[in-house]
């Protein structure tokens, strides 16, 4: 019985510590609770002086966009992707999907 008491105490302590560890991991992972509709990667270079996105990032470009972007217009690139210097200001933007007869597209909230 005394050994059982010790084991129970140890299990309770261990459980509390695991819960705290999970809480810590959640606190350190705010991205877990952000709406993730494909939060877009930031653009690591300025836009000035560059030609259209498709020159480098088209399907035949050096760094092609993913296949799921097929059919999206050139103008839609900067609706989701912003230069990294603006990312902090933009990080609270939310995107939602708009369904229409032509399919789904991403719209920034507020538009």
């Amino acid at each position: 019985m005394r050994e059982t008491y010790s084991v129970h105490l140890a299990v309770i302590s261990g459980t509390l510590i695991i819960l705290l560890a999970v809480l810590f991991a959640v606190i350190q992972s705010p991205a877990l609770f952000e709406r993730s509709v494909g939060v877009a990667a930031t653009i690591p270079h300025p836009l000035e002086g560059f030609r259209q996105c498709e020159s480098c990032h088209g399907l035949k470009g050096d760094i092609p966009y993913p296949i799921r972007h097929l059919g999206w217009s050139i103008e839609s690139c900067t609706r989701c992707h912003v230069p990294s210097e603006y990312a902090a200001a933009m990080k609270h933007n939310r995107y939602h999907e708009q369904r229409s007869d032509s399919g789904k597209k991403l719209i920034a909230s507020g538009e």
């Binding site: 019985m1 005394r2 050994e3 008491y5 010790s6 084991v7 105490l9 140890a10 299990v11 302590s13 261990g14 509390l16 510590i17 695991i18 705290l20 560890a21 999970v22 810590f24 991991a25 959640v26 606190i27 350190q28 992972s29 705010p30 991205a31 877990l32």
Partner: protein
């Protein structure tokens, strides 16, 4: 009530000290998270390290910590929590590798950075602690060899884990965080230093001399010690002490034995020891005048903590030793409360203290029920092993008001507790101590 409050206090302290490292991680400069699983892995690693470091306090035999529960409960907790801590430390790299498979290359000792190497060595040291403790008997390790491995591997595990943590240098970059972790690591070593150096020094200044070694019935010996140059130690009946005989107080060769003498006589203490192992088999050869050192008293198995209108004492084999201490003490105190002793023995001839027990019946309100496993043909008393039926025949009507003390082999303790439960005795009135740790 006092013990309950102290006990709750120490549990609270333990939880604060094991969870504080996780809070420390959030202090200081902000650290961007690196994903849920990676952060969980890190938190478990830090928690496991803190739990491991605190193990040195649990086994430091600090009376303030052990008194509320009994030292056996603390040691059993130490054993159980170490398995849980090892689980956390094991999960630390496993979660990391499973969630980021690219990190598996870090397990290659040839190319891995030195701080990862330190972490791997720490894990192996911790594994050695666990394996040698859980499988000591199967590995054929003597208690003394196991103790040395245990101590060295535990210190190595904690030290290397700290090196790993400081080498990774992610959540310990701030001066405050780094200082706190280094301070904690040093604090964990304090009880080790106390147990290995300070306490033996104190014992060295309070030696005992062997006054006699008496052959008792049942392949047992009573080792009589008297304090040399000091007043001796005050203990309560039923407690025990770790003893070193003929060796330095710095030796790891020490063994726990219950006091069998009266607690009213600190000037001359005795320990009754049954020949069971490699050390106990040599007790009969100890010479009067040999030096001995005591670390004690320890234990919560004592009538002085449990006031009752009477006591039921259940002894099996050498479990009679602390029971004799209780009876001798009560006789010296001229206590007239009713006492009932169930004494489980193999044969009547092997009943240790048989003659003295009969003498004690004249000084105390003592009834003795011998339960003989292998009786002679003429034996008219109880036969077999102590069980509910035998106890039911002899327990008085006010059995629910009494306190029960059970001491003997582990199987016997389980069996008697089960029997008392069947008889409706509340288990919080049944006291025992279990010392099967390793």
């Amino acid at each position: 009530m006092r013990h309950l409050l102290y006990g709750t206090f120490w549990i609270g302290i333990y939880l604060v000290l094991t969870t504080a490292p996780i809070f420390i991680l959030l202090m200081g400069p902000s650290h961007p998270g690196r994903g849920f699983w990676r952060e969980l892995s890190v938190a478990l690693g830090f928690a496991g390290l803190a739990m491991t470091g605190l193990q040195f306090f649990l086994t430091g035999r600090f009376r303030a910590v052990t008194l509320p529960y009994g030292i056996d409960v603390v040691y059993h907790f130490h054993r159980a929590i170490s398995l849980i801590a090892f689980g956390f430390i094991f999960l630390h790299p496993v979660i990391l590798v499973l969630s980021y498979p690219g990190t598996v290359v870090l397990l290659n000792p040839v190319i891995t950075p030195w701080w990862i190497g330190a972490g791997m060595l720490a894990f192996l040291a911790f594994l050695a602690v666990i394996v040698t403790s859980v499988y000591r008997m199967a590995l054929g390790l003597s208690y003394e060899v196991w103790r040395v491995i245990h101590g060295v591997a535990a210190v190595a595990a904690v030290a290397l884990a700290c090196v790993h943590m400081l080498g990774v240098d992610y959540y310990v970059q701030g001066h405050l965080q780094r200082g706190l972790w280094i301070g904690m690591a040093l604090a964990w070593m304090l009880p080790l230093g106390y147990v290995r150096f300070v306490k033996p020094l104190v014992m060295f200044r309070r030696p005992y001399l062997v006054d006699g070694v008496i052959k008792e019935r049942g392949t047992s010996w009573s080792l009589i010690l008297r304090p040399d140059g000091h007043a001796g130690v005050r203990f309560t009946p039923g407690q025990f002490a770790w003893i070193r005989v003929g060796r330095s107080p710095f030796s790891v060769r020490e063994h726990p034995f219950s006091f069998s003498s009266s607690a009213m006589r600190a000037d001359r203490v005795s320990f009754t020891i049954k020949e069971l192992g490699d050390f106990t088999a040599t007790i009969g050869r100890v010479q009067p005048g040999a030096r001995a050192y005591l670390d004690g008293p320890h234990g919560a198995f004592t009538i002085d903590r449990h006031a009752a209108p009477g006591y039921v004492l259940v002894a099996g084999g050498v479990g009679i030793a602390p029971i004799m201490s209780m009876l001798r003490t009560l006789a010296d105190r001229k206590d007239k409360r009713p006492l009932l002793l169930f004494y489980g023995i193999s044969t009547l001839d092997e009943a240790t203290f048989r003659e003295e027990l009969e003498d004690l019946k004249k000084e105390l309100e003592l009834r003795i029920v011998y339960v003989v496993a292998n009786p002679s043909d003429g034996w008219k008393g109880e036969r077999g092993y102590i069980n509910a039926e035998i106890m039911a025949r002899h327990l008085p009507e006010n059995r629910m008001e009494l306190e029960y003390f059970v001491c003997g082999p582990q199987l016997m303790q389980h069996s008697v507790r089960h029997a008392l439960e069947r008889l409706g005795i509340p288990l919080d009135r049944v006291q025992s101590e279990s010392f099967h740790f390793v």
